[in-house]
Amino acid sequence: MFQHSLILSMILVSIGIAGIISRRNIFILYMSIELILNGINLGFVTGSAMFGKEDGNVIALLVMAIAAAEAALFFAMIVVLFRSRQTLDTHELNLLRSKEQDHA
């Protein structure tokens, strides 16, 4: 079962990376990042169950806290960006892109 749950953790991380590569909706990108964090958490919990120590559980707990902090900032930024741009498309959110590239 440990082997299978490690493989499941790897599959979830892979699906999350595929979502980040292929989608343009900013909400889906956020949920893909959360999916990667969840896959990593499953790996930590499996390690914890395998070695019989609590370290993996504690690290999974800290990862969840960091994900919550990330959620708060991410949604504040989405609200501000949506108010001024009226779009969820990551190709439109190109504030840091240089002007020369736009005309090239």
Partner: protein, 170 residues
Amino acid sequence: MTDLLFFTLALLSIVGAIGMISFLQPIYAALSFIITLIALAGIYALLGSSFLFAIQIIIYAGAIISLILFIIMFLNIQPKNLPKEPHKTKFILLSLITVTPFAFFLIQMIKSLPLIQSEKAEQFGTIKSVGKELFSDYVLPFEMVSILLIVSLVGAVILANKQGEDDVPA
């Protein structure tokens, strides 16, 4: 019985994840993501971490997903605000093909690992033993995470409070 339960939950979580990256509307994606999170909570319970099972349901399926749904409904997203993704299915298939080789090598690596069950304590995964570990060996990371949470919440309030004058230029 445990194996059957594990495979059902694993299948549910993979189906939810694939649905999450393939729905066009973000609200369907969020609802599909809940399936993944709850199935993962069940897998944590099967692995013996009863505390993380509860925390996963409370924080992820409860707080974070309801925050996502709240923001999606609050923004009142019309179809014209959504990005046009005419080749979405093709892109998803191509990116899955891209990550497959790495996944294949990782599966080979996992298969070669000696995965043996070590001795478990009586109270493994309960809130008592996780809390003891958290407040003895992991006190410094715990305090740093609490500072990070405060900083990010203050930042979120300041960001969302901006009115008009210094908006992000369009």
